[in-house]
Symmetry: C2
């Protein structure tokens, strides 16, 4: 299973420095999990992931269930072995992707019927089925099957949705019997602080080894996301890891770490990289811009990534302009390294007990 | 400049074991040069190239002239520095690509006017211009600007073409003044042995530090390609490197090594990899095939490449079926490693003076 230890709390904020111990290794928190949707963090090998210090990655249950299929992955020894990543993995429940299909999905008390986004075939996922799939994948941390609530939902809709999420969370826990996989509950409640509190109480009542805050960073105003996170995080047990799903920008990671969040994931560093949008200290640049055409310097002179140590912005711009696939890898390496270094600096500020800035 | 030493000749064939010394390092011959068209061997980093023992790579003048432009590359310190490959590079003359545009190209005694394949802009390349561009790129070995003759050309057409190639080769040599770049002449003459002899004599008369056989592997029958290569290679000076352009399959490399060819290049290992076609001992497989869906074994159990050491065929098939770009790199690594190992085994057979099989 897992254990979580808070090593130090930050006197300048609600941030915590922690160690999350899993059967496949320890994770320093607050941590950022690169997203490996289809059994690969796009363009990167496991060696690449190790090169920038990733300690845990995320896999997407929905995608892996459809292709290549969880039975296939189980028969080949599980997701770790399949993708040759022997370190910790967290899988989501598939709920978020299934619900984001919207018109293609039909929700009942029992579960969700939906059509595959790539071949239109019909599928059904319930809390029990999500647990079965995630057990086959074999991640170290797995997520309860929930209904993410749109940020535009009314109070009534949001309450109904959180109650369904609670009933589904119970069903997830009831069918999961594992000594090696830790099941995290997910708090919903939309943009309503009272409903966030109600959801947190119900989910904590079920008792999980970790808790996620779901349904944020889905189109709402940034201030509202911070408000709801700042309201919800302290409701959760101090001795359990808190995971803010799908968040976010470097600034989001810093702000939400300061509210006591321990775990993050987001496609932003990898997806942005593939579009040429690169994180640097103090902002972003787009490497496609004309101004980098003749620029002999690396993206960031003091960055330790392979890309910055070996290539100029002019070369990287050339690669992406002529659509060379090497661009995808080199730019992803930089952004992923940036995110890991960013989390390292957050952890260091907590360890040194200095303000985040 | 370069020097070439034949270390050993094969008593079972006309093959030679050689060392080609360039300002940027030595190359064991017979050698295969991975193709780095746009200042990158597609999907691979310089570290990847070193991992499988590439000693020299090829760059395409036509592509680099158009994007990012030879002036830009020169201003950034040349192609080696631009792509961070400090080892030997050979550039072609641009002729092959320009002529393959066919309807978009207009040929005169002076040179070729053509339209860019990607934006339709008009350009002119002459022997002098090709030398200027290749000097800006700064490769260790550069090629004379020639007219590749279609394999369907008549005797008259072919003779006219080889005479033009000779006049252009003279113009190339006249304008090239370099202590560091070695200019290779190219023998044409199509599918006519007498014209191959005539071309070889004319090109040798100009005197180059190395000679290429051009205009083969362009659609003619395999046997004809072997016949023309076997006829032409021994016409060339024994103490100079012989380069068979654009060839070929592993079998071609072996057959043509046995005829005394020292250098090869081809997009086959890299392009095939991106289509899922993988070289193995005794043949090829396509990793997309259903039969590999659950295959837990590597492509080749005794292959030393990163891909075979770390991933199953089932995983590689999954990656390519879901169009993950990591597939491109992992499969390219395997095929490129296969080619380099193949050349190593050819060189070992010559060194040990045993038959190729």
């Amino acid at each position: 299973m897992i254990s979580f230890e808070v090593i130090k709390t930050h006197s300048h904020s609600s941030a915590r420095l922690g160690i999350l111990t899993t059967p496949r290794g320890q994770i320093e928190t607050p941590c950022f999990m690169p997203v490996g949707t289809q059994a690969t963090v796009k363009s990167l090998t496991p060696d690449d992931l190790k090169s920038f210090g990733a300690q845990i990655i995320l896999g997407n249950t929905y995608h892996l269930y459809l292709r290549p299929g969880h039975d296939l992955i189980r028969s080949l020894g599980g997701l770790h072995k399949f993708m040759n990543w022997p370190h910790p993995i967290l899988t989501d429940s598939g709920g978020y992707q299934v619900f984001s299909l919207k018109k293609l999905a039909k929700i009942t008390e029992e579960g969700v019927t939906f059509q595959s986004h790539f071949d239109g075939s019909s599928h059904f996922i319930s809390p029990e089925r999500s647990m079965e799939i995630q057990q086959a994948l074999g991640a170290d941390i797995i997520m309860a099957f929930d209904e993410p609530t749109p940020h535009t939902a009314s109070l009534d809709q949001t309450e109904k949705s959180l109650q369904l999420t609670t009933r589904w969370a119970k069903r997830c826990k009831e069918v999961l019997h594992s000594d090696t996989q830790a099941l995290f509950g997910i708090v919903q409640g939309g943009m309503y602080p009272d409903l966030r509190r109600k959801s947190a109480e119900q989910i904590m009542e079920i008792d999980f080894p970790g808790y996620a805050i779901g349904g944020l960073s889905v189109g709402e105003e940034k201030k509202l996301m911070y408000d709801i996170t700042g309201h919800t995080a302290p409701l959760l047990p101090a001795d359990k890891p808190r995971y803010l799903m799908g968040v976010g920008t470097p600034e989001d990671l810093l702000q939400c770490s300061s509210m006591g969040v321990d775990m993050f994931d987001c496609v932003m560093p990898t997806r942005n990289a593939r579009n040429g949008s690169l994180f640097i200290k103090g902002g972003k640049i787009n490497i496609r811009n004309e101004q980098y055409k003749t620029d002999p310097d690396p993206i960031e002179p003091d960055c330790s990534c392979y890309t910055c140590k070996n290539f100029s912005k002019a070369y990287l711009r050339h690669l992406i302009m002529v659509e060379e696939i090497l661009a995808m890898r080199l730019l992803t390496l930089h952004n992923s390294t940036f995110y890991q270094q960013w989390m390292t600096s957050i952890r260091k500020a907590i360890a040194d007990d200095v303000p985040f800035r």
